[in-house]
Symmetry: C2
Subunit: 358 residues, 2 copies
């Protein structure tokens, strides 16, 4: 298993050099770059300037946005690989945010039963989350990542160099996952991460915080690549978070993934407090930070049934009617096998709204 799931993670701002080194070793018969319409414009030209392999590769550009992370776009990628002569010995570079790394990874994982790929995340969120750990997939029938596979990138090249082009909202979206990792790690991690407002860290400070954060995820994934147990810890904040995200999308007012996770983190810490005695001072601290950075989700009681319905559809559930959660006894002390009843979740949503002054 270690063989298949341990992946090389390279932290560097010399991204072109990292790509050339990988290509020299992997020697793909043909190289493809998958980018979206944003990264094709904002990131690909610079990278092509630094890497002859990237410049010479076949570029597959997909429309940007989560609403294009679907079967139609996936089929168009397969089609481009097919019609441009990709073989089993070809390779793919995914250059983009989580949509590109998830979907491009799944396309590569399933083309001719799997060709090699590397991820170059261009957003903080993708760097800290989607690009690492081998989860690939697309949304289907309105459910996030409903179709996919566990398949690790050959390598992930993590840099902060593409972040200056990101809107603040994108930066905050990634920061929410870093908050999650710091709570999973415990110790001083949360304090280090929240010592300054996220946009006040220098690029070097951020790369260092990123390394610490990614290593939390990497360690968990290597222990449990296919989410039989420990990996579920990474779902902290995600049961409620995914429900918020799907619900907001359905309402026609989509929210960024990281925002949904930030709010979901507060819900999960409320449940952690109610069920496992997570310290209330820490809960209030996190809730205050989330309100300050992410604002308020316009949630009312009448929306609860829809949210519960989304939670029931969560992949993490056992199928026995309960809803699965990952909760914390305290920072660094995780329980991955918690469940909550609809009544408990309703109570937690009420407290969540109180804490965030919704």
């Amino acid at each position: 298993m270690a063989d298949q799931f341990s992946q090389q993670i390279i932290f560097t701002n010399s991204v072109g050099d990292a790509v050339e080194a990988w290509v020299a070793e992997a020697r793909p018969s043909k190289l493809f770059v998958i980018a979206d319409s944003n990264t094709a414009r904002l990131c690909l030209p610079a990278l092509a300037g630094e890497s002859a392999s990237v410049a010479a590769a076949t570029h597959i550009v997909v429309p940007a946005g989560e609403n294009h992370k679907n079967l139609a776009t996936l089929a168009s990628i397969w089609d481009s690989l097919c019609s441009n002569g990709a073989t089993r010995n070809s390779a793919v570079i995914n250059l983009g945010g989580g949509v590109v790394t998830d979907m491009g990874g799944f396309a590569a994982a399933t083309f001719k039963r799997g060709i090699r790929f590397i991820n170059i995340p261009t957003t903080l969120l993708a760097a800290v989350d989607a690009a690492v750990g081998g989860k690939t997939g697309i949304d289907f029938n309105g459910f996030k990542n409903e179709i996919g596979a566990f398949c690790s990138a050959d390598a992930v090249v993590i840099s902060t160099r593409f972040f200056p082009t990101l809107p603040r909202q994108e930066l905050l979206s990634g920061y929410a996952e870093m908050l999650k990792h710091s709570l999973l790690k415990g110790g001083d991690a949360y304090n280090r991460l929240t010592a300054k407002a996220p946009e006040q860290f220098s690029q070097e400070e951020l790369l260092e915080l990123l390394r610490e954060s990614v290593m939390v995820k990497k360690a968990v994934v290597e222990e449990d690549p296919t989410e039989k147990g420990l990996r579920k810890s990474l779902n902290l904040g995600h049961t409620a978070g995914h429900a918020f995200e799907s619900w907001a999308l359905e309402c026609g007012r989509p929210v960024a993934h990281g925002y949904a996770v930030a709010w979901g983190l507060v819900v999960d810490l409320v449940l952690s407090h109610l069920k496992l005695g997570f310290p209330s001072a820490m809960l209030r601290n996190v809730a205050g930070l989330v309100e300050e950075l992410y604002g308020r989700l316009p949630l009312e009681c009448k929306h609860y049934p829809a949210l519960l319905e989304y939670m029931r559809h969560d992949k993490k559930n056992a199928g026995d009617g309960t809803i699965a959660f990952t909760l914390l006894k305290a920072p660094g002390e995780v329980d991955v096998n918690c469940t909550a009843t609809p009544e408990e979740i309703t109570a937690a949503l009420d407290i969540f709204r109180d804490l965030l002054h919704i």
Copy 2:
């Protein structure tokens, strides 16, 4: 690797009991049976009569035939799983020939990033080939198995009980893969298998020959699950065979997979003779048997370019312009890393037509 790819193969005609035993151990939250319109009519009722779990399962019936092994049918399976509340802890039983086990296996392998499945092959071909070994997938853009994944069934239940409903052509189709396995195994295997005409074996004799044949494949797959080396031996007959199959389909005169493999076997043995000195007496023996059982493919010189084009698209090629073949020095002595030039293949196709009196 062994963990992920070794699979339980159960040889029994008490298929219902085998399913019940598996369900008792696996305890899926929900059970689905994927069948095609033929097996839903001819095999599912009897099996449901023997297995309460099968009777109570959600049945997903797809249209029969290779031309439905495509993205649209796959999406309809995902949709059925989704809308009938499948969870990560659900499981799928694939009841059918290779189309059902390949496509149902891929649907399960990718639904919520992978749920468990077992295969119950209902054709000799699926029993001896598709159902065992973890290759799943669909055809795409006219290319066979262009999209897919390596993912082993939890268990494969192999019986001869569904074969009496098979047309003779279906039986012969599976027999071609058994011929291939016997040539790969060497020793007396080919003689045992060809001691009688295939339809003259009793059900018990056939189950025993089937066990011997499947074990050849199982041993190879466990050694090399993702086809880095040894597994390529199973491609004997398949480079030319797949080209025959794709070409015949394109011409609007589709041929059964096993027929294409039988003819492809002769082409590959001709190349084996030309390049590795495979004994000509044995080549003539196999060619005579193939002509007798499978008849003649209406192939003319003018068709060669189309066949070569299909061979160039084969997944097995390295992408350097050569065409990859698995060849034999003699029965039981395999070389998986052969290549042939278009000129050599053209010569082999000429000899193939001579041998089969085309």
